[in-house]
Symmetry: C2
Subunit: 357 residues, 2 copies
Amino acid sequence: MSGGGAIERVLEGFAAGHKASLARAVSIIEDQREGHERLAATLHPKLGRARRIGLTGPPGAGKSTLTTLLAEAYLAAGMKVGVVAVDPTSPFTGGALLGDRVRMERVALHPNVFIRSMATRGSLGGLASMTREVCDVLDAFGMDRILVETVGVGQSELDIARLADTSAVILVPESGDAIQTLKAGVMEIADCFVVNKADRPGADRLRNDIEVMLGLRGGGGAAPDAHHGIDLKALNPKRQAREAAARDDDQWTPPVLRTIGATGEGMPEFIASLDRHLAYLERSGTLQSRRRERLRDRVRDVVEHRIHRRLWRDEGIQQWVEAQLPALERGEVTPFTVAEALLARSVAAGTFTGSPT
Amino acid sequence: MSGGGAIERVLEGFAAGHKASLARAVSIIEDQREGHERLAATLHPKLGRARRIGLTGPPGAGKSTLTTLLAEAYLAAGMKVGVVAVDPTSPFTGGALLGDRVRMERVALHPNVFIRSMATRGSLGGLASMTREVCDVLDAFGMDRILVETVGVGQSELDIARLADTSAVILVPESGDAIQTLKAGVMEIADCFVVNKADRPGADRLRNDIEVMLGLRGGGGAAPDAHHGIDLKALNPKRQAREAAARDDDQWTPPVLRTIGATGEGMPEFIASLDRHLAYLERSGTLQSRRRERLRDRVRDVVEHRIHRRLWRDEGIQQWVEAQLPALERGEVTPFTVAEALLARSVAAGTFTGSPT
C-alpha cells in the first residue's frame, strides 16, 4: 500500500501530540484518503477520554459565541479542547460577524485547542457519520472536551446532535416562534436549554414556555400556552415518563438557563450545568450507553460502506446489471427480480466478503 | 399477506384510470406501505409512455407559475399531465402567493391532471429515489408529460433534476448573483435555460452571461464577464466537448429563453424548445440512455434497501453485535474487524438472500 509510510508518519506525530499531525489525520478521515481505515483502526483503542458536548439551535441563536466562551473556560481550566463546527452560519465555517470571528481566531491560537469545520458536501446523513468519526480522532488525540456546533433543528441536525454525550439547545427570544421549533425530536435530545440574548424582550416568556413543556411548571390555567394555540405539554414525549419516575431521585431534568453571550452573563451557570450533566451521565450509566450507541452506529456504517464499495465497484456485477437492462426496459423482468438475482450472485461469488482495499 | 386484497383493488382502479386509485398507489409507494414492492413490480412493464420534464431553479424564480402554464398547455393539447413538486416554496406544496395558488387549483380540477407534492421528510438523497418512484407510478398510469418542480441548485436538487428526460433551469434577473448559481452541476443538467420575469432589469445581461458560458457568444473582450470576477467560459465543462463536436449536426445546444410568467409571454417558445429537445432525445438515443440510467439506479436502490432491511432487522445479527460491544469499548477489537466478521456471518447464514417481506 503506497500510502503506508504517510499514515505511519501521521501516527507518529499524532502520538507526540503535534497539532499538524492531528489536522492531517482529520483530513485523511474526512476525505477518506488511502489508509483512512487503518488510521481509524489504530486510533480506536484510544477512544474514551473526551466528553462530547453538542450545541444546536436555529441560525442566529449565538451558538458560536457560546461555543467560543465554553472553549475559553475549558482552556482556562487546563483542558484540551476540540471544536467541530457543522454550521454554515458559524464563524468557524465562514459566515459570521467580524466580532465573533475575531474572538474565535484568538481562541484558535491557543496551543490546547483544535478547531475544525466540517464541509457540508454530500448529504447531511453522511455528514453525521463523518462528524462522529472526526470527533473520534479528536478524542483519540487526548481532547478533554469536544464541542460540536450544529445549526438548525431538522432531522439531520438532530442526528448530528445525537452524537454528543450532552446536548444543549440554544434559543433566543426572537428566533421566530421559538416554541414551534421545539419539536418532539428536539425535546428528546436536549439535556440543557439555554435562552441566549436573555436581556431581550420575550426571554422570560420563552423560558416559561420551555419549563411548562418540560413539566417543571404547571402552566396554571391555559394562560401561557393559549396564545400559541399548542398544547405545550403534549409536545414532550418524555414528560409522562419523567412524571412517572418522579420519585426516582437520580432522574435528569433539563435545566432552562439564561445567558447573554455578548457579556458572558450566565456562562458560569451554563458550564456548571454541563458538568452536572456529565457527572449524572457517568453515575447513571448513560455515558456508557451513549458510547455503545455510537459504536453500534459505527459498526453499521463500516458494514454498509464496505458492502457499497464491494458491490458497486465490482466489474462483474456492473457487466451483469448492464446485461439485464434490455429485459428491464421491455418490462420482462422487474427491478425486484433483478435485485434478488444480483444478491444471490454476489453471495455466491464472495463479493460481500471481498478483501478491503 | 393481509394487504393483498387492498393492492389488488388499487390496481383494478388504476387500470380503469381512476385518479383516486392513482392517489392511493402513490401514497403506498411513498409511505412504503405493505405491498408497495408488489405494486411497483406490477406497474413496471407499463413504464415508458411519459416524458419527464424537470424545472429547477432558485426560490422565487417563478417555477410554479411556469409549471402551471406548461400543464395548461399540455392539457389544452389533449395530453394527460402529472405534476410532482419537490419544493417547499411552491404553491403545490404550501408556501405561495394567493394568485399562484388560485391558478394552480384551477388546473388541479382538470380531469386529466394529477398533482402531488413530495414530503421533504428524511434526507434529500432518499427523496430523489422516492421522486423517481412516484414519477414511475404516474408514467404507468398513462401520463404523457410529468413535470417535476424542484427548488435550489445544490447537489441534492441536482440529483432530483437528473431524474428527468429534459431539465429546464429557471432563473430571474434578480435571483441574487445568478451567475454564481450556475455551477458546473447546473450546466451539466440544463437542457434549456429560461430567464423568467424577463421584463425586469438585468434580463438581457443574464441571458448574455449564460450564452457566453455556453459558448454561444464569444464574449468579445472581457467586458460582460469582468464585473463578476469569474471566467464564465471555464465554468462550463461541456463547452470544450461541444466545440470539438461543432461539426456534428445533431448536437444539442441549450437554448436561453425569455419568459414572463405573469403574462405568459415566451411560453410558446419554451414549449417548442422542450418539444424540440424531446425529439432530439429520441433521435439521438439519449432518451433511451437516460431511461437506462434510471433503471440502473432503481436496481441499485432495491438491492441496498433489501440488504439494509435484512441485515439490521435480523435478530441474530443484532444480538451478535451487542455481544461485541464490550470488546469494542475496551479497544480489543475495532469497528473494522467486527464489520468484517459480521459480513462473513451474514453470508454464511443466508441473511443477504432472505425472503422479502
